[in-house]
């Protein structure tokens, strides 16, 4: 369980062609990042998988079924966290479980595990505004993970965090993905982040939004044993990492002519 498929997907907003001919298959437990300049349609791609938006052409399907509406099988982590300010950390995480009508004991069990996974145990009864941005995003991730979704959709989840916190969260996400592998569609405009996190990176271009190429990171990561390093800055020094990053940068640049990305 947990495959995503874009089948010749296009999206028009009025007369504006936001996406055209998007084809992408994400396998079970695969982590795919989409990188591209802002406005190229990354968020729109994710929103179609979430069911917030419907393609004007082609189909988006999850586990072989066409997406029609949002649902807890496709948990979303938003850039701006989107936590409910009037609910405590625990209540935020609990909402999705209550919606599934799970018995109380199981909910408590799952919440405890999610809190532990995200190192949030001491904040269970805090309200979002009492937490730092990084902590809030941990809550949002816990709220998504606790649902045991077949796919996880993350739209620039670390984009609103400061640089140090972002690094910590990236390392955390790698750790969690190892403990608890998921199918992830990860949106970012940060090239390093994509290379560090993803099994494959899809490079998007603008006007209209298209997928230009898809790079395999996983085989290189495994061959070069990036996992031996636990710190992101060490991984980022590895030659094969640098090489991939440069390759993606170039690919993005070519497309944009003289513009800076």
């Amino acid at each position: 369980m947990g495959s995503i498929r874009f089948d010749n997907v296009s999206m028009r907003f009025g007369t504006f062609n936001a996406l055209e001919g998007i084809n992408l298959e994400i396998g079970e437990k695969e982590f795919v990042a989409i990188v591209g300049p802002s406005g190229c349609g990354k968020t729109t791609c994710m929103r179609m998988v979430a069911g917030f938006e419907h393609p004007t052409g082609g189909t988006v399907s999850v586990n072989g079924a066409r997406v029609v509406a949002p649902g807890p099988d496709r948990a979303v982590v938003f850039q701006q966290f989107a936590l409910f300010p009037w609910k405590s950390v625990r209540e935020n995480i609990d909402l999705g479980l209550r919606n599934k009508n799970l018995p109380k004991s199981e909910r408590e069990d799952r919440i405890a595990r999610a809190l532990k996974l995200m190192n949030l145990e001491s904040h269970a009864d805090n309200f979002p505004h009492q937490l730092s941005g990084g902590m809030q995003q941990r809550v949002a991730i816990a709220r998504a993970y606790v649902l045991d979704p077949s796919v996880l959709l993350m739209d620039e989840p670390f984009g609103a965090l400061d640089a140090q916190t972002r690094v910590v969260m990236q390392e955390e996400l790698v750790r969690i993905s190892r403990v608890n592998p998921r199918t992830v569609l990860f949106i970012t405009h940060a090239v390093e982040e994509a290379v560090y996190l993803a099994d494959r990176v899809a490079i998007m271009t603008r006007r209209p939004g298209r997928i230009k190429e898809v790079l395999d990171i996983k085989s290189i990561r495994e061959a070069e044993q990036w996992d031996k390093h636990s710190r992101i800055e060490d991984v980022m020094d590895i030659e094969s990492f640098v090489h991939l990053r440069t390759q993606i940068w170039k690919s993005l640049r070519e497309e944009k002519g003289s513009d800076a990305v």
Binding site: A50, P70, P72, F84, P85, W86, L95, N99, H129
Partner: protein, 265 residues
């Protein structure tokens, strides 16, 4: 303009200055003999009358009893407006169809002044509690509904999306997302409703009631007992202000809990 906030002692000083000026002018005008005493009783006459009315009945009851019966209707009217207006407003903010159906009717009805309902209030309820309650309701209902509706309609879209992706159903979304999100707006609406309701109450009692502050004033007017009329006016003003101050505190507390500031004073 000097926008530095006033200190507490400054505020008391200025408020005292304003009130002193008001009562001084009033006393001067009625004491000067320019206006016949019966047309404009002096502040002391009124105070005197107020003390009397505390224990001596007029129009069937003492002042506290009139105030209490006014207050009872008021609580019913505003309470009913809130209990009906807020849920309808929230549902209109969530169900598009309901919004499309109700809004046109509502937009027409809300321009009818509460007092315009008096003939029907009298016809349907006579002088019982129903008539004034209905008129207060007419005054308090629109702000309850509108503020709940706006609060629900303008909830941050991300939060709605988050609720939907978590699989939240309609009832739970209304109760756990829209209601708390709209809460500051609802409380602000309640304050407006409380003010309008209090104003309509006295208007209503002038016409359809057998007790209450408004009724006392009508009876006094018939006897040209101007100090008693004035006592009624002052009671209305002071109680109205007290209600507003209390609700303002409530609103400030609600907003502070959310880490927000109240705009203006």
């Amino acid at each position: 303009m000097n926008d530095a906030p006033l200190t507490l002692s400054q505020r008391i000083l200025y408020a005292g200055l304003g009130l002193g000026l008001f009562f001084g002018l009033w006393a001067g005008l009625s004491g000067s003999g320019l206006v016949p005493r019966q047309f404009l009783p002096g502040p002391l006459d009124v105070l005197d009358r107020m003390m009397q009315l505390m224990t001596t009945p007029f129009a069937g009851a003492t002042l506290p009893v009139h105030v209490a019966s006014s207050f009872e209707r008021y609580i019913y009217g505003v309470g009913l407006a809130m209990l009906i207006g807020v849920p309808i407003g929230l549902m209109m903010g969530w169900f598009r169809l309901l919004d499309d159906i109700v809004t046109p009717i509502f937009d027409m009805l809300r321009f009818i002044a509460p007092i315009a309902w008096v003939p029907f209030a009298a016809l349907w309820f006579g002088t019982g509690i129903g008539g004034p309650v209905m008129i207060i309701f007419a005054g308090a209902f629109p702000p309850c509904l509108i503020n709940a509706y706006r609060g629900a309609r303008f909830v941050e879209p991300r939060l709605i999306e988050a609720a939907r992706m978590l699989g939240t159903g309609n009832t739970r979304t209304i109760l756990e997302i829209l209601l708390p999100a709209a809460f500051p707006s609802i409380v602000a609406g309640l304050r407006v409703a409380a003010g309008l309701g209090w104003q309509s109450l006295v208007g209503a009692e002038l016409i359809v009631a057998a007790a209450g502050v408004g009724f006392m004033m009508v009876q006094a007017q018939a006897n040209v007992a101007t100090p008693t009329v004035m006592v009624g006016m002052i009671a209305i003003g002071v109680i109205g202000m007290a209600i507003d101050v209390l609700l303002r505190q409530g609103e400030a507390i609600v907003l502070r809990r959310r880490g927000l500031q109240m705009s203006g004073r």
